[in-house]
């Protein structure tokens, strides 16, 4: 039996969870700053790190109390080393080190994105080889996992992450932050509009993604319509943007799944909460019936510490321990990535 105390503070959320055996949530406490950031139209790093400092002790105390565990029951402290906002990361890293030092526990530093992938361990046992489509505000990646805790990034965005494209298009359409849920909701009222044709993203590497050109095309289309005195129908533009972005991404994912033949494909990250993406993946994965598709429940799509505990348990099992010299790394690369 392994019990992990996990800490996550890479962006908006200050979070702590106690996880048993990598898939049993004894407690999962999240304190979100999303309302604060909504005022500013985005994540504000200085505000973020100050609020993390205020919240971190509370979430750790609450997580322990809610789990019914004492520090004697904890085998290791897992935490997000990076990537993320430097000021925010520092808070979680320092908290983890302090706890590990005071209670003589091993440290298990993990990569934030691997946590999103392992959030699916709360749905079902992960089976390998596995393909993960990781989609969030800062990431759009295809991660190939031949075995447990073995990561190979086979595709990435060549420019903007999908969540960033959503946020910027939402800003153009005046929808506010965060843009993803706003576009997803608005697009449900939209329709195909032949005047709003957008270019399908093209990349050199078939596994890579691109959203910058699409974002610029939406901007230019919006400007052109206004210049010509035409009324812009935001719902239709949202629909056309979303269909173009998601279909391109899902096409590439399905092609990669057919090529690499994993036994399981998982969706991960904040944008995995997008209802149209969930629908498209479910539809298209029918082309590959031998591969199991796992879509995480909405509560595991956003940042949380439970997922850090899940991947922390895998890292712990593989002896991937850190030291007190490890420093928060905003540019941390995936284990095994060049």
């Amino acid at each position: 039996m392994t019990t992990i105390l996990a800490i996550e503070s890479s962006c908006d959320e200050t979070a702590c969870a106690i996880i048993r055996n990598g898939n049993e949530i004894l407690s999962n406490i999240v304190s979100s700053q999303i309302n604060t950031h909504t005022l500013y139209g985005g994540v504000v790093p200085e505000v973020a790190s100050r609020i993390h400092v205020e919240n971190i002790s509370t979430v750790v105390t609450e997580a322990l109390a809610a789990s019914g565990c004492s520090m004697d029951d904890i085998d290791a402290v897992a935490y997000t080393l990076g990537p993320g906002l430097i000021g925010s990361l520092h808070v979680g890293v320092m908290a983890a080190k302090t706890i590990a030092f005071a209670y003589h526990k091993p440290l298990v530093p993990v990569h934030h994105i691997t946590g999103h992938i392992y959030a699916n361990a709360f749905v079902t046992e992960l089976k390998f080889p596995l393909m993960a489509l990781v989609v969030s505000g800062g990431h759009t990646e295809l991660v190939w996992m031949k075995n447990d805790y073995d990561f190979e990034v086979i595709g990435t965005t060549a420019d903007d992450a999908i969540g960033e494209a959503y946020d910027k298009v939402a800003r153009v359409l005046g929808l506010g932050y965060p843009g993803g849920p706003a576009i997803d909701k608005l697009a449900k009222e939209g329709h195909y509009n032949p005047d709003y044709k957008l270019p399908t993203p093209k990349t050199d590497d078939p596994h890579n993604f691109s959203f910058s050109g699409l974002k610029t095309a939406v901007l230019q289309l919006n400007d052109r319509l206004k210049r010509n005195g035409k009324e812009v129908v935001p719902a239709d533009l949202a629909w056309c943007f979303q269909e173009t972005a998601l279909n391109s991404m899902v096409d590439k994912t399905i092609a990669a799944v057919k090529e690499k033949q994993p036994v399981m494909t998982v969706l991960a990250g904040g944008v995995a909460a997008n209802s149209r993406l969930r629908e498209l993946m479910s539809e298209r994965m029918k082309e590959v019936p031998e591969c199991e598709l796992v879509i995480p429940p909405l509560k595991y799509c956003t940042d949380n510490a439970a997922m850090i505990g899940a991947v922390g348990a895998a890292a712990y099992a593989h002896g991937m321990f850190g030291t007190f010299e490890d420093a928060a790394d905003p540019g941390l690369i995936m284990p095994g990535e060049e």
Binding site: C11, Y40, E46, L85, D159, A161, K168, G331
Partner: protein
């Protein structure tokens, strides 16, 4: 030379221009990139990274504000101040700016406290489709020399 204007006709030409900039960059230099959404700031930075010999793909840092790329001749410290509008606090990014690397800041008007006296400003204008105009302005002798090399 204090000012230089160059045009590119395609993404590839923008990459090549960035590559020349990256190859000519010296340690602790600071480049400020400005231009509208979609102007090509990240595209130019991708070229700069290639010019530094960085193999990793440079992607937009908007979400995490800062990204670091190692493995090249100089560390590339890529900052995007897009989300910092209206704030002027110590964000902890300075410690990465005098660390022997090259700092590229997008939307620097939103983080004026990060701008050193000497720097290179690159203003990008979207002409049409993939054509862009790049206006370089040097503040400081080493940046004037850089422009002479680029011209």
């Amino acid at each position: 030379m204090k000012t230089l204007i160059l045009n590119t006709q395609s993404r590839e030409e923008t990459h090549a221009l960035g590559e020349k900039l990256g190859a000519a960059a010296k340690e602790n230099m600071v480049f400020l990139l400005s231009g509208d959404l979609g102007a090509g700031k990240t595209t130019l930075t991708q070229g700069i990274a290639r010019g530094l010999g960085i193999k990793r793909l440079v992607t937009s840092p908007t979400f995490t504000i800062q990204k670091l790329y190692r493995g090249g001749r100089l560390v590339l410290n890529h900052i995007d101040a897009y989300r910092l509008e209206g704030l002027s606090q110590d964000l902890g990014f300075e410690e990465y700016m005098n660390d022997g690397g090259l700092t590229v800041i997008e939307w620097s008007q939103f983080a004026p406290q990060l701008i050193p006296d000497e720097h290179l400003t690159v203003t990008i204008h979207l002409l049409e489709e993939d054509a862009r105009e790049f206006r370089f302005e040097a503040a400081g002798k080493q940046y004037e020399e850089l422009l002479e090399e680029l011209a």
